[in-house]
């Protein structure tokens, strides 16, 4: 009897049920509403969100890939010109009896974690002794120096970054050649040991000096943002902003070792294929 009654008034029964459920949802308190919405939303929307996110990432990757190809092509043209200059320079160095120049060999590594301890600003990297990585190896990113490895296990490494209070890097002012020690002091990145009479100006780029033997010479570090004399009048207080956004790092490069500046040492066969493609692309673009 109930079934026939429901069957006869089916639309009204469905409406009453829908209204009852809606009313119940409206009647529950705000916190529970959010919990219910979160639980239902996670179930219903999660696959769609994953799909949309995947599609967005795909579009972004394609755009980034196209942009990177263009950059690689341009860099390769620039590199070819620089190689000519390098050869001339090496020849002159050999004639003058200088030691052969070395070039850093990079290992890309993903950043998988970051220390929350303000006293030790560390990045956790997805590389380790299995990748021939060792303590004290420098870590860099696209923009410049990031820090150096402090601890290394089989497949993970901890990198101490520039803002960590324990890190000191010998840097050179690229414009004037003045050398100082870069270290983090109470949250500021300062170039230490710069005499008051030294020539350091706001906007000067800083690179690693190569002194001390940990960091290879010439890695970009940052730019001078403020210069003032210290209270005792003996030294300058030089504030520096690093080139690398240390808070948003996702991928870094470990400088595994330094090799002679030759293509065969720097690039694998696959790398040289990509360089060849980029050269052809650049030549093609130049032709148009």
């Amino acid at each position: 009897m109930l079934r026939s009654l429901v069957g006869r008034h089916r639309p009204r029964v469905v409406l009453v049920v829908a209204v009852a459920i809606s009313g119940t949802l409206l009647a529950v308190d705000g916190g529970s509403q959010i919990d219910i919405a979160r639980a239902l939303g996670a179930t219903l929307y999660a696959p769609v969100q994953a799909l949309v996110q995947g599609a967005e990432e795909m579009v972004q990757l394609r755009r980034e890939n196209r942009q990177l190809r263009r950059v690689v092509a341009t860099l390769n043209l620039e590199r070819m010109r620089l190689l000519q200059l390098r050869d001339e320079r090496l020849q002159m160095q050999r004639l003058a009896g200088f030691a052969a120049e070395r070039f850093p060999l990079l290992l890309p590594s993903e950043v998988v974690g970051r220390s929350t301890d303000p006293m030790q600003d560390m990045l956790q990297l997805a590389c380790g002794t299995d990748d021939s990585v060792r303590v004290d190896m420098p870590v860099a990113a696209y923009g410049g120096l990031v820090g150096r490895l402090r601890q290394v296990t089989g497949d993970h490494a901890l990198a101490e970054i520039l803002t960590s209070p324990g890190l000191a890097v010998s840097c050179r002012d690229q414009r004037s050649g003045v050398i100082g020690i870069l270290r983090s002091t109470r949250g500021d990145l300062l170039l230490d040991r710069v005499d008051a009479v030294e020539d350091v100006l706001v906007g000067d780029p800083l690179v690693t000096s190569g002194l001390g033997g940990v960091y290879p010479r010439g890695i970009p570090v940052g730019v001078v943002t403020r210069v003032e004399n210290s209270l005792d009048g003996l030294f300058k207080r030089v504030e520096v902003r690093p080139y690398v956004d240390l808070g948003g790092l996702q991928e870094v490069f470990v400088v595994r070792r330094q090799v002679t500046w030759e293509d065969t040492a720097l690039y694998s066969a696959e790398d040289r294929d990509i360089l060849g493609t980029a050269t052809r692309t650049a030549a093609h673009a130049g032709g148009h």
């Binding site: 639309p11 809606s22 919405a37 239902l40």
Partner: protein, 169 residues
């Protein structure tokens, strides 16, 4: 029309409302695609299907703003039931009639919504209706009439096929 197609229409309306509609706002007024989908599905599936579609679409909207969880589900269930009950009397293949149905649905929807939302504060209800609902109804009618004309042909075809002459063939 299968439930799968109905689900796709409902989902497409929710997805477009969240992604496309914010870009086609005019002076803060936007078309109500979930409401158009509710009316469309109610016309295709009758009062039961309309109520269920309205409830599902409304709940889908509520999940994105859980402060009034159930409010959209409640109001759209009523609109779906109403539109589904009136489908035999009102032919939405007729554009002016479709426009009237959509405008009525939008205004009834917003009236019910505002009554609950403002806790029966009539001054706020009327202010909301005139400031937002009437312009939104116009925009919804413009967009919805076009959508119903495009997708409503399925309903005419279904009706025609259901006639005895077609059924015997």
């Amino acid at each position: 029309m299968t439930w799968l197609v109905s689900a796709c229409i409902a989902f497409a309306a929710l997805a477009l409302q969240a992604t496309l509609v914010p870009h086609v706002r005019i002076a803060g007024i936007s078309p109500d695609l979930p409401l158009i989908a509710t009316v469309l599905l109610a016309y295709r599936r009758g009062p039961t299907g309309g109520t269920l579609a309205g409830f599902a679409i409304g709940l889908g909207q509520d999940l994105t703003n859980p402060a009034f969880l159930g409010l959209n589900a409640l109001v759209k269930s009523l609109v779906g039931f109403g539109a589904g009950s009136g489908r035999d009397a009102l032919d939405v293949s007729n554009a002016p009639l479709a426009a009237a149905v959509l405008a009525t649905a939008k205004l009834v929807h917003d009236l019910a919504y505002l009554l609950v939302f403002t806790h029966l504060s009539l001054s706020e209800v009327f202010a909301g209706l005139f400031a937002h609902s009437v312009p939104a109804a116009v925009y919804t009618v413009v967009v919805g009439t076009w959508i119903l004309a495009l997708l409503g042909s399925g309903r005419r075809r279904e009706s025609a096929l259901a006639r005895p002459g077609y059924a015997r063939r």
